[in-house]
């Protein structure tokens, strides 16, 4: 087992070079070439027809919505949309591929040359990752092998066969497993925001393969120049979460480093390897050698006519795209005067939560205060409870009511939090909770009386403050809270200091 990679404190003696290949299922009601439903989780072989079963005489017809969503994804990734595109047959034999070929795109993908940037909100990295191409193809079915049954049979369910997929291929621009994970999060957020895909990895609507190798700088030796050695590229499959992608890449980089030290084998001297990620074991294992690209014997799909896209159609697609997360982060930060970090946290929760926040911020009139409440109270509670913001039992109006009372000095923020928790737990109106908790603004006379009582009981603190140690007054606030939970800490402190000055 390879050792863990070096930490940031001791730089690695190599650069990890990563490119990703992502398949996302498009949010259509029907398959790419027939009217069968794409609903997930139905009994096997209940969403199949002669076309997606590959029966003789059936013909595919392209789903307009699938093509439009694919174009939207490509535009969001800043790709160039080609005015003329066609489909090709990718021939390979596998029981979950009933036609014996996959309808995909080979030499004329509908889009290419894009990019997507990922910026770590804490400033650890910022990476603009090139997109080589985005193309539209059909999914295969599912094969299941029940080893326990001992029958030696595999069972084939073709419900998924023909489901529209967008394949997104990145340049090898990522430089660490952490960057790869962050970039995938950004890609997923973008595609979900734009309604292209639900990107649900559990249901297989987003799948990731990763290509990784190491670039190792070698010093000049034996009269030769210094150069960079590259380890053979390995493609990793079977990663079922973004966390697995990060773990698999971390493992694989360490494994390649160890192998390099032992063998000095460089890229181009052996065929490209495919390895599968074994999540429970935390290792990658060799898989069958991938068929060479020419073995797929691509040729133009005769059953589909080409598709042309005009500038006007591209402009219309761009117009209908909606605001992507990057633009929304900048807009939120500017409009509500919140930090880039705060905007990032809110936007990463999805469009519904951003709307909820904007509603709250509008009612409160202060974006920063609203953002603090969102993050410290609403989001934390939401994460604990699970569910979406739409199902959250406390409304933006109620939170705004609590914040408004804090702003008017009825009680302080920590008391406000208790009220929030009680509104959440009881489902009662804010005013009722305030009344039932016996919360009332403390009058100035009461506050002065309370402070006098505290000063009389704490001569040491009084002496310290008189001696110039104002911070000693902090010791009085906790005591004040015990005597009257509604006492505002700031006011207690100021009143005490004023009283001591006059003593």
């Amino acid at each position: 087992m390879p050792k863990q990679p070096a930490t940031a404190a001791t730089p690695e003696p190599f650069t990890t070079v990563i490119g990703l290949e992502v398949h996302v299922q498009l949010l259509t009601q029907t398959k790419l070439f027939c009217g069968c439903s794409t609903t997930f989780g139905r009994p096997p072989n209940t969403q199949v027809c002669p076309t997606c079963l590959g029966l003789p005489g059936s013909l595919p017809v392209m789903n307009r919505r699938a093509f439009d969503l694919a174009v939207r994804a490509a535009l969001a990734l800043e790709c160039r949309i080609t005015p003329f595109t066609k489909w090709d047959r990718k021939n390979y034999f596998y029981p979950d591929l009933p036609k014996g070929y996959q309808i995909s795109q080979y030499d004329l993908p509908f889009s290419s040359d894009g990019h997507l940037e990922v910026v770590d909100p804490k400033g650890a990295f910022s990476r603009r990752v090139g997109i080589i191409r985005v193309h539209l193809e059909e999914d295969a079915g599912k094969s299941m092998h029940d080893e326990g049954a001992g029958t030696g049979d595999s069972r084939i369910d073709l419900n998924r066969a023909g489901t529209p997929l967008c394949e997104i291929v990145s340049q090898p621009d990522l430089r660490s497993p952490q960057e790869a994970r962050a970039w995938l999060n950004e890609l997923k957020l973008l595609l979900v925001y734009l309604g292209v895909s639900d990107c649900n990895m559990q249901e297989g609507s987003l799948r990731v393969d990763a290509n990784v190798n190491l670039h190792i700088p070698l010093p000049a030796e034996g009269g030769g120049d210094a150069r960079v050695a590259k380890t053979p590229i390995v493609e990793i499959k079977n990663m079922n979460s973004f966390r697995s992608v990060e773990r698999a890449l971390t493992y694989e980089a360490a494994r390649q480093w160890e192998e390099w030290q032992a063998t000095k084998v460089e890229m181009g001297t052996i065929p490209k390897q495919t390895r599968g990620w074994d999540d429970p074991a935390g290792v990658t294992r060799p898989q069958r050698q991938k068929e060479e690209s020419s073995d797929y014997r691509y040729f133009p799909e005769p059953d589909l006519v080409p598709v042309t896209v005009t500038e006007a159609e591209i402009a219309a697609a761009r117009g209908a795209m909606g605001v992507p997360p990057t633009a929304l982060r900048a807009a939120l930060a500017e409009k509500w005067k919140i930090s880039a970090y705060d905007a990032d946290v809110l936007v990463n929760q999805g469009r519904e939560l951003v709307s909820w926040y904007e509603d709250l911020a509008t009612r409160v009139g202060e974006g920063k205060v609203a953002s603090n409440w969102m993050q410290q109270d609403v989001l934390r509670t939401l994460n604990e409870r699970g569910g979406t913001i739409a199902e959250f039992p406390v409304t933006a109006e109620q939170v705004a009511d609590i914040i408004g009372r804090v702003q008017r000095g009825e009680f302080d923020t920590s008391r406000g939090r208790e009220i929030f928790a009680e509104v959440l737990a009881s489902g009662k109106a804010v005013a009722d909770v305030v009344a039932s908790m016996g919360i009332a603004a403390v009058s100035d006379d009461d506050l002065v009386a309370l402070c006098k009582e505290l000063l009389a009981a704490n001569p040491k603190i009084v002496a310290d403050v008189k001696g110039g140690k104002e911070q000693a007054a902090a010791g009085l606030i906790g005591q004040a809270k015990k005597k009257n939970p509604n006492a505002n800490p700031g006011k207690v402190r100021q009143t005490c200091l004023d009283l001591i000055k006059g003593m």
């Binding site: 072989n45 979950d96 049979d153 595999s154 084939i156």
Partner: protein, 100 residues
Amino acid sequence: MALSRQDVAKVGLLARLALSDADLDRMTGELSKIVGFVSQLEELDTAQAAPLAHPLDTQNVFRADEPKPSLTTEQALQSTPRHDGSCFLVPAVLGESGAA
């Protein structure tokens, strides 16, 4: 252009066809004739001809994203040699599935 026995054996493997020696002999001859027939096209000068993506002069054939009834599972499975009432049964395949 002649195809070698190895070429034919490789194509046979990719299609998961078990070709006997006799099959290979016959196929190598027949496939070579087919490829030879098509290679007559090489006599033409196509330097100035644009690649043709499709013989029909038609483009942009789409359908709306509207569900249509599927077959019943019984109908879907009726022509397969082996099934278990819900799935097609095939000789064991191990390893990953899904689009490559």
